[in-house]
Symmetry: C2
Subunit: 660 residues, 2 copies
């Protein structure tokens, strides 16, 4: 069955564009999914931490990204092909993806922008440019079209052709679902049809051709979901099946780098390049749920579990190694050389959302919340226009951070600029991840203030007004308004970090359990009712698994979903951060002064500074030190490096006096 979807004018989804078109990730009714997302824009952020970040994205990040895309090689590599730029072909092999991700970001934003908003015209111009560059057979890739020495599909390891295609497809899906940016879908489908013709099950391209960087799999499934055109799904499934047999060769970093050493369906471990691994799993879940492939879904869950239990930073980040941007061994989680790429954090968020939909298990929502509030949020400056590519958990005193590989401060752009537009496309659709629905009812997955229009099992709708002061405090108030008399379940996720919680309906305490991570309230909600969930927000001292050698003897402090960090700026002048030891946590403190711009709540702790007497790097003699005691305040990790450059650490070594 093919849905009518020849262009953006006819998106799939529950309703018309901008009024119920699907958001990112829209499993078909036949999918294995336990939960369904709400349509795009069913929820609207109204206040609070995530709202403010989304607004910053719209007012600062996205215009900045478009500036850079329009003024840099991302646009000029395309424009030169149609005589609209004299700039030389330059940059990474996938500069087109900066265009596509920026377009996707605008598409998700489009439904709440006035029709004459400049972002729309700027994105449309990029869409139109791509259309003009596209060859008659559907092929479009400026780095290949622009270089006579390069043949199409000649460099599967590094050419990023299917990866780049995937981002065009995702942008077009966003445009179609939002009814914006006409032309994008036609362009994408022409390219997708070429990909199917070459690399689908009956493709005429090189047998076994595997793309070095997964991404097209999830994009093809989304295009299938939009259009109902089954060959897209079949081609995605085929890309998964041909990978893992060593076809890409060892090359510089070995087969595992490309996740080409073991078929995804047989994998037990997360390996290789972090973003590739996570995008691959994302595509695997999409294919699994749409093809009813429980074995493939189980494989993705298995690899997620490996990641989650042995290869995840306390900030939710993934990927420890700089050299090959790879995940590293189990428990290899150095804080000071954490690579922890922003795009990997985005991919983790995408993957966890898919696993949440597929399984209905709350711990995936916990993971989304955690990576969003820490690794992912740290990527962007308070100004919205500077970014981290890698997100270390410890910047050492005296760090030589001039180079963009591990700078001391966020940068406006990068030689490889994948992260900033990726952040933008996630944030303009951030509200689409707040709630889910199921045959039982509606689930509030993330605690953020929003107004929501949710379809109920009966087909009727409910209006939800959510007010939450998370992440800084623990109250979420939901006012449900509906005319539906049927009983349905309103489930509110109780975050895994909450030590205690209570819930009331219309002011009366409710004796509910949350054994599976949700407090589930099943009743008729006809009329208007108020649900209040209070969760205890305390400062937690997190200890690492004893096999995480790099942070032995340390704790990380977290409060709610937010991990805190100690910055040089908050230490007595002249203190060497590495001499600081935690004596005890005092507690949360309302911020004031310059720190108030960073966050409303800081964490206060008593520390000692141990001034070492001995300078020997290694010694068999006893070591000694003088000790000063100070009270210091920690800032949210995601707000570090918004003041003067300086050392920072998440993991605090315990003093001998600490109760630990």
């Amino acid at each position: 069955m093919e849905r009518p979807a020849t262009a953006a004018q006819a998106p799939s989804g529950a309703g018309a564009a901008g009024a119920g078109g699907a958001g990112p990730v829209a499993p078909t009714p036949a999918a294995l999914s336990q939960l369904q997302p709400l349509p795009h824009d069913a929820a609207e952020l109204t206040a609070g931490w995530l709202h403010d970040w989304q607004q910053l994205t719209l007012t600062s990040t996205l215009p900045h990204v478009l500036d850079r895309v329009e003024q840099g090689e991302a646009r000029s590599n395309l424009a030169r092909l149609v005589g609209e730029s004299d700039a030389p072909l330059t940059g990474m092999f996938f500069t087109d993806t900066d265009v596509y991700k920026a377009v996707e970001a605008v598409a998700w934003a489009s439904t709440r922008l006035p029709a004459d908003h400049p972002l729309l015209a700027r994105a449309q111009a990029l869409v139109d440019l791509v259309r003009r560059v596209q060859e008659p057979d559907g092929y479009v890739n400026s780095r290949v079209q622009g270089d006579p020495a390069v043949e199409r599909w000649s460099d599967p390891q590094w050419g990023h052709e299917l990866y780049t295609a995937g981002h065009l497809l995702q942008a077009a899906v966003a445009a179609a679902r939002t009814g914006s940016l006409p032309g994008a879908l036609d362009t994408a489908r022409a390219l997708a049809d070429l990909v199917v013709a070459l690399f689908g099950p009956d493709g005429t391209g090189r047998p076994g051709y595997v793309e070095g960087h997964p991404e097209v799999e999830t994009a093809l499934v989304e295009l299938y979901r939009l259009t109902g055109h089954a060959p897209y799904l079949a081609t995605a499934a085929r890309q998964l099946e041909v990978r893992g047999h060593g076809w890409l060769g060892e090359d510089r970093f070995g087969s595992a780098y490309f996740q080409d050493a073991v078929p995804v369906r047989e994998a037990h471990e997360a390996t290789g390049h972090a973003v590739r691994q996570l995008y691959l799993l994302t595509g695997a879940v999409d294919v699994a749920v749409e093809t009813g492939d429980a074995e493939l879904l189980a494989a993705a869950v298995r690899v997620w579990d490996d990641l989650d239990s042995t290869k995840t930073y306390v900030t939710g980040a993934h990927g420890s190694r700089h050299r090959d941007e790879s995940i590293g061994d189990a428990y290899e989680l150095p804080p000071d050389r954490a690579y922890a790429e922003s795009c990997a954090a985005i991919a983790t968020f995408h993957l966890a959302w898919r696993l949440l939909l597929a399984t209905g298990e709350a711990h995936y929502a916990d993971a989304m919340e955690h990576v969003l509030h820490n690794a992912l949020a740290a990527s962007t400056s308070l100004s919205g226009t500077e970014f981290f590519y890698s997100n270390p958990l410890h910047l050492r005193t005296g760090h030589g951070g001039e180079h963009e590989d591990a700078p001391t401060q966020r940068l406006a752009w990068f030689t490889c600029a994948c992260c900033p537009p990726n952040i933008a496309r996630l944030l303009t659709s951030a509200h689409d991840y707040l709630l889910t629905r199921s045959p039982a009812g509606v689930q509030l997955q993330h605690h953020a203030s929003a107004v929501v229009d949710a379809a109920l099992p009966s087909g009727a709708h409910a209006h939800l007004e959510v007010e939450s002061d998370q992440p800084w405090a623990g109250t979420t108030r939901v006012v449900v308004t509906t005319e539906d008399d049927d009983a349905w379940e309103l489930a509110l996720r109780v975050p895994a970090w909450a030590r205690d919680w209570s819930v009331s309906v219309d002011g009366a305490p409710v004796d509910a359990e949350a054994a599976d991570g949700y407090v589930r309230l099943r009743r008729s909600w006809a009329g208007q009712h108020e649900v209040v969930l209070n969760v205890g927000v305390t400062v937690r001292q997190l200890t690492p698994h004893p096999r995480v050698d790099a942070v032995r003897g340390c704790v990380a402090l977290a409060r709610g979903p937010v991990v805190y960090a100690l910055e040089q700026a908050d230490l007595p002048e002249g203190t060497v951060l590495e001499d600081v030891r935690l004596r005890r946590v005092i507690g949360a403190a309302r911020s004031s002064g310059p720190a108030a711009a960073l966050a409303p709540v800081l964490v206060e702790a008593e520390v000692e500074v141990q001034h070492p007497h001995e300078t020997a790097l290694y010694s068999s003699a006893p070591r000694s030190h003088d000790t000063d005691v100070h009270v210091v305040r920690l800032v949210p990790y995601h707000r570090w490096a918004n003041r003067s450059p300086g050392a920072m650490r998440v993991w605090l070594p315990l003093s001998d006096t600490s109760a630990g």
Copy 2:
């Protein structure tokens, strides 16, 4: 003044070739040096650890290296230029250096090889090949000559042309000093003269041209020392002066990577690519001592001190980062991702020798001893034919070590094969580093069994027979035989690790001090006298400086100069190495069984294996475990990975019960 040195037939030095020609590093009489090396072959290793390694080098490593050089791109890239190979141009930009380092290794060995030894003919064939490839103006570099698209000196960052030239010069110096391999010196001088013409103080090449990889500086100084041709020294000095002004640009890793961010004479910190940094300092010391530039020497000492006190692994290795092979920040010394390149260990040995000669300070000899017995010795397998390129201090359980970047086992060769021939050239000259002389007398710097012919201050000679059971025990016996009546000082280094020591002459205890690291015995040694130095060799528990976050709560065990490691093979089956905690050191143990092939002395310790109850990577809940107690044996770090592949660690976390 220019010494007569037109060819290998007339080397400089104290005597004729093979009977007193200089070894590696031969400061001129005018140099600032406090100490002088003995001539090449003045000492001959007779037994023990270093002797056995040198023999292994001659019988296994060097033939293996020559096999690989002759059969691979190192030779074919040159041979194809004169129609002697059909192989395509391939490999790293500096494949010629594999040839040069192999030739240098044979040259140093040549004085003790029979004239018809096949190694000599094989090296001669390589020397002759280079001669035929050399262009009329002296230029020779197969990667540039072989590629029409590449112009000479067009890629200072990565072309490695002066680096490659430097290794030819060093090979030629070795040939000339040993009277071996005729033709090498003429080839080298022709190239050196071209380098002087282009990049000397009056050079016509690009002003300010800096080579991305230092090496030519030390080579030019050594060629100056051999020939007395001052422009070689001036050109080396100029290469030092033009570096550090950012001329090389940021490129991929920033100016600091090339040590081009700060002039070497102004540097306070060791930065960037480890081998480049160390080779640069090596050249800086050579230039400083020959030009009488105390400021430059002080700069090299300053950067050494920074390295030694904040950026050195407990194995003596340097360079923590894989991505750019760089040194890392102060105290950034992760054991499991230690890059610790074998070539950096070699460079450290070379640099420390030069600083020892320049200053006469024993701690440089301690550093040589330490890196030799640990990082450097670890590079080579018991078979002598397999090598580590990087030398981690912790191989994690389950390490994904298929790739040559961080393999689980030593490999026979590498894509970048710099290390194996570098090891070979150091080991064939290892006996040249045992002793020094000065106006005061003779210094035994390293404890190894050898027979030595040493020139005395009077001009007379002494014959020394040294018997030492170091590194496994603590007795060094020196029998001095001389006809010289004059008083002179025999100094024996007391290793920094020795907790106690005693010395006797002719059986009578001597009440001597060793305040500066040497026990100094000044007297007439006419006739024959026996000196015995006994040093206490105990197992030491080394603690790291508290700022070395990566090994907090751990100790490393060392005995004498040898650092020990715990290997999977020595743990109860099924044990996860990262669950092991040290309870107490039992002491040294004579090895037996299969481990006896590794070392005569192992270290025995009581450990507990903590089987964790909780799997959560991070948790605010208490953690608990079951405990098994075992007695285990540790092997010398330099012998790890000579049995089955498996996890290994140098730094042992302490159990709570440990006295620490």
